[in-house]
């Protein structure tokens, strides 16, 4: 009985939900009330995912809290993380308490903190990649073989063709760059796309049939 409740019922739920989605797509015409009813089902996923977000925050706080209590690596910086979470959460909860919603409106202080404080850090952290690309270009990209030569030549032609300087040097560079995107790149990416589709479909079928159970989490005794 306990195995049925703990394992087989969740697997059955997965199967039923998946079959509903497949039937709705292939056997229910667009615009029919039955198909629109399945959109209620998919809309409920938004609600489920929101609660999972709370779990994520709790796990983050637990990780950094344990790091502080055990004086782990960079434990002093975990204090900064927790202070940041506490302050921003306070701002958000205050907004909810005073008028219940609209956290994301531009007039809200919560949204202002995002637009004026968080955005700078987000943009800067991602812009570090430009420097790593430059370093990789110098240190790692070598013309060792035909394959790497093709990679570098195509990449260089793309760089010249997709910026105004390429057209200023020679009118042919933008044309070549467009052709490289449209033809050989399409061929390779199409093959990759078909392969990924086959893999994703087989994984989804395995999940529906209960062969893949990793999403259920660990077996806890």
């Amino acid at each position: 009985m306990s195995v049925i409740v703990k394992r087989y019922i969740p697997l059955a739920i997965t199967f039923v939900m998946g079959i509903i989605m497949v039937i709705a797509t292939y056997f229910l015409a667009s615009g029919t009330p039955e198909r629109e009813a399945t959109s209620l089902l998919t809309a409920s996923v938004d609600i489920l995912v929101a609660t999972a977000g709370i779990i994520g925050l709790v796990v983050l706080l637990r990780h950094h809290g344990l790091n502080i209590s055990r004086r782990g690596r960079f434990w002093k910086y975990s204090i900064i993380t927790i202070i940041g979470v506490a302050l921003y959460l306070t701002v958000g909860l205050y907004a909810i308490a005073t008028h219940g919603r609209h956290l994301m409106l531009s007039q809200e202080f919560f949204s202002w903190v995002y637009s004026e404080i968080y955005v700078h850090m987000d943009m800067t952290i991602f812009s570090l990649l430009a420097f790593f690309i430059a370093s990789a270009a110098y240190r790692a990209f070598r013309l060792r073989s035909i394959e790497t030569s093709i990679l570098l030549i195509v990449g260089s032609l793309m760089l010249l063709g997709r910026a105004p300087v390429g057209g200023a040097i020679w009118q042919g560079f933008p044309t070549i760059a467009s052709w490289l995107l449209d033809v050989p790149n399409t061929a390779g990416n199409r093959a990759i796309m078909i392969g990924i589709a086959i893999g994703a479909i087989s994984l989804a079928i395995r999940q529906l049939l209960g062969v893949e159970r990793g999403y259920l989490g660990p077996e806890r005794k």
Binding site: L11, T14, M21, T42, A43, S44, D46, I47, A50, T51, G53, I55, L60, R73, Y77, T81, I82, G84, V85, Y88, T90, R101, M104, F109, W112, Y114, E116, I117, Y118, M121, T124, I125, L128, L129, F132, I150, L151, L152, V154, L159, R162, A177, V183, P184, N185, A187, N189, R190, A191, I192, M193, I194, G195, A197, A200, I205, Q207, L208, Y215, G217
Partner: protein
């Protein structure tokens, strides 16, 4: 303390710009050498990101279930059901009733798997195969101009088929399959070259965004005449980084801890060395030193 809705003082914009400059320079200082300031800003970023993501999810879930047309606030109580089911996620923290956490997970996983089957088959599989086999090879204008569309069609057909054969790992790549896989590998290299070009473009663009902020951000914003420019603070921020880096260097190094943890900045491998490929980590702690090296010499 917390400004009410619509009453955020404009002076806060100045403080935000100041914070932005310091945060930018502190994070960029990581490129020179990892230091406490860059770590501090990164940890702050993680905290704010987590809360913002949660807030967005809460707001979205509330407007799906509670507020709006046909929702709980208008008396449609069917939306209570997913809220109750979502509460089962909290059994994640229970040892005895952990299995109840699987029920909402199963719902999401089943819906996603069903959607994936339908979406992938049509868009990534059938549509791509259909386009490949219907590429024009004969007809008016197919072999005119340069490059002729017919030639492009042949290249795409050959490239797609040979690149697919590259992924046939059931048989050894010998004979005709070997030739096909080799040609496919060349097409895949062209694909990766295009991806590399696109990656460089994108990353340079990200960097340009920050440069634009550092050089052009001002207070107050136009059309008022600004009296403060963000770049005024850049030397001060750089000075802060230098001071903190020198202070960290002057501190005595703690002894190696009993637990296996990676040291942040091993003194025996300073970044000012000539940029050879990273040598293997010291023999005493190869496993722990490697992550730190990889991070330092990343890129």
């Amino acid at each position: 303390m917390i400004p009410p809705v619509g009453q955020i003082p404009p002076e806060l914009g100045l403080y935000a710009t100041i914070f932005g400059v310091f945060a930018t320079i502190f994070i960029y200082s990581f490129l020179w050498k990892e230091n406490p300031l860059s770590r501090a800003v990164e940890h702050l970023f993680i905290g704010l990101a987590a809360v913002y993501t949660l807030a967005a999810m809460y707001e979205a879930a509330a407007t799906v279930a509670y507020w709006g047309t046909g929702r709980i606030v208008e008396g449609n109580l069917i939306w209570v059901i997913p809220i109750l089911i979502s509460l089962m996620y909290f059994f994640f923290f229970s040892k005895k009733y952990f299995y109840l956490y699987r029920y909402p997970v199963s719902i999401v996983a089943g819906i996603m798997a069903g959607m994936m089957i339908c979406g992938m088959i049509q868009s990534n599989f059938l549509a791509q195969i259909q386009d490949t086999v219907t590429l024009p090879l004969v007809g008016a204008g197919v072999w005119e101009g340069w490059p002729p569309p017919g030639l492009d069609s042949i290249i795409i057909i050959i490239g797609t088929i040979t690149a697919l054969t590259f992924f046939f790992f059931t048989w050894e790549h010998k004979g005709p399959l070997g030739v096909s896989a080799k040609i496919g590998r060349y097409f895949l290299m062209a694909t990766f070259g295009a991806a590399y070009g696109g990656t460089v473009m994108a990353r340079i663009s990200l960097f340009l965004g920050r440069l634009t902020f550092l050089y052009q951000a001002s207070y107050p914003s136009p059309p008022e005449t600004p009296w403060f420019w963000a770049w005024y603070l850049v030397p001060i921020a750089v000075l802060c980084v230098i001071i903190v880096a020198l202070w960290e260097r002057s501190r005595p190094k703690p002894p190696p801890s009993a637990t296996v943890t990676a040291k942040p900045a091993p003194a025996e491998a300073p970044p000012s060395r000539p940029s050879e490929e990273p040598t293997p980590a010291p023999e005493t702690k190869p496993a722990t030193a490697k992550p730190a090296r990889k991070r330092k010499s990343e890129g």
